[in-house]
């Protein structure tokens, strides 16, 4: 059994990020919020301070570990919301067609026409900053690509012989959509989903950077970057490590998406066994 390199590397990076987030209380050297000590302010990376310290003397290493929790929660949960909305709308629109398809199409075009970050900003402005509103804002604004993909797949799949066969064999609409269409479009949907998780992590960083995400002093990778931008020339480690964490997580998710596409295809699955 030959595993693909992108699956292994991507999966490992993503798993590492999750483990780091889960085990943050045990792996961290100090409390990410409380252990501020101006005596240690802006220490460069060293054996004591692995990733250095920030202007308040907080350990960057510990803050990056805790920051993983926010970034990954936002990435995974908001993308799940997006995928569910996108698949539900796109799949039903492609399958049923008619006026419902027109409605969904109009809605998708609307979403594509408004820059999603601006839309998320508007939602955040109404809901106020915080993790929950961040999840809602990002979960409601990035489903249009999934929707388009699901609709296009449903359009082509609904004319497949096995879908017509299922109709002939007495399957109801819902059963056809769930058992015939969904499994056959899952590969690309999952790939888009992992890519979307990556961009949700980036959006969280952007919104936190703008001060709309998780409220300081609690760390998220985005808010850490935001706070670090003034010292990027004097204390580059402040932005380097959270930036690296974002980069590796997004890279991992993209590689994972590629790898998943390969194993979700039953043709390649049987070749390996």
């Amino acid at each position: 059994m030959k595993l693909r390199a992108n699956l292994v590397i991507g999966g490992s990076l993503f798993a590492l990020a999750i483990i780091v987030g889960l085990l943050a209380p045990w792996l961290a050297h100090t409390d990410p919020v409380m252990d501020a000590n101006l005596m240690n302010a802006e220490e460069p990376p060293s054996w004591t301070w692995w990733f250095g310290t920030d202007g308040q003397g907080r350990d960057i290493y510990s803050r990056v570990l805790y920051g993983a929790r926010v970034s990954l929660t936002v990435g995974i949960v908001s993308q799940l919301i997006n995928s569910v909305i996108g698949v539900a709308l796109g799949l039903s629109a492609g399958y049923f067609g008619g006026w419902w398809d027109d409605v969904v199409n109009a809605l998708t075009n609307l979403m594509l026409a408004i820059p999603s970050l601006i839309f998320a900003l508007a939602i955040m402005a109404v809901l106020g900053p915080g993790l929950t509103s961040l999840l809602i804002a990002l979960g409601l604004t990035n489903w249009s690509f999934t929707c388009r993909l699901a609709r296009a797949s449903a359009l082509s799949l609904r004319n497949q012989g096995y879908v017509q066969a299922a109709t002939v064999l007495g399957y109801g609409d819902l059963r056809i959509m769930v058992t015939q269409l969904l499994p056959n479009m899952l590969g690309p949907i999952v790939v888009i989903g992992t890519l979307g998780m990556g961009s949700a992590v980036l959006s969280e960083a952007a919104l936190s950077f703008l001060g709309l995400g998780v409220r300081p002093p609690f760390p998220s990778w985005g808010s850490m970057l935001s706070e670090a931008r003034d010292q990027i020339t004097t204390a580059p480690w402040l932005s380097l490590f959270p930036g690296l964490a974002i980069f590796l997580t997004v890279l991992g998710l993209n590689l994972l998406g590629d790898g998943l596409r390969d194993i979700l295809d039953p043709h390649s699955r049987s070749r390996r066994t």
Binding site: G161, Y162, Q164, A165, T167, L169, G170, T179, P266, S270
Partner: protein, 326 residues
Amino acid sequence: MTGVPLIEVENLRIDLDDGSRRVAAAEGVSFRISRGETFGLVGESGCGKSITALALIGLLRSPLSIGGGVIRFEGREIQRLSAAGQRELRGNRIAMIFQEPMTALNPVSPVGRQIAEMFVLHKGKSWREANQLAVESLASVRVPAPERRVNDYPHQLSGGMRQRVMIAIALACGPDLLIADEPTTALDVTVQAEIIELMRNLCAERGTAILMISHDLGLVANVCRRVAVMYAGRIVEERGSADIFRAPSHPYTQGLVDSLPRLGSRAALGRVRLKEIAGVVPAITGFPDGCRFNPRCAQATDICRTAAPETDLLEAGGFVRCHHHA
């Protein structure tokens, strides 16, 4: 329910709506199939045989629609049934197998699951029972090592095996009618014979009626007791299948029978060119007036070009739609 035919089609008309006007893709189609009977519908591509089958299970989709006539299943009008009522018939009482066993199975689902789903859907079985029944179904269509094969995906099976799986799915719920639309066209000739044999035996055992649709007159006559020949949307002749070979009445049927190569004909008749039917099938939008076969018919006279022939009952049983039938 003796006396009531299993399925009865009366004067069925199927409309094709091309946006600006409606044309009849099939009209005046009438036939009956009794319980356990085998009935064949033969014709060239585009003559309306497949859409007739789709109409039977209530599955005509735009731009096609039923423009008139009645279809009764056990005396109940199919068009009057609710969507749920029609769905209850499909797969459970009326099943269908298709030409392309390659595409008629869901590629991402193991075949056993696809058979089992029928028991869950129509018989209310639990998945555990259904999976057991799926193994039995697969054994009944003579797939070797069924308990292992249930876990296979369609692409791991050969074309013949896939068609066996399709038959297992179609017959899973013990339907009263099996519609077989060109069931073996995509298969090798040897496999074709096996599949036809299997389908015929299973249906005979269970008393399932067969409506077989094919362009292959020989194959249909081999399987079916009665055969209807369709041309340009109309049934032109309906006979017992032995009669249709021995004494075809309609000039079109004659043409079909004459164009079949026969084993031993060269020894008996010497080297002769295989006959063909001159001309091509008219387009659906430009059916000729009168008898639709008249432009290709050697026996056509003036009346054939003006008046559409009515059905004439034949003494030996069956009917023909021709002004000059033999």
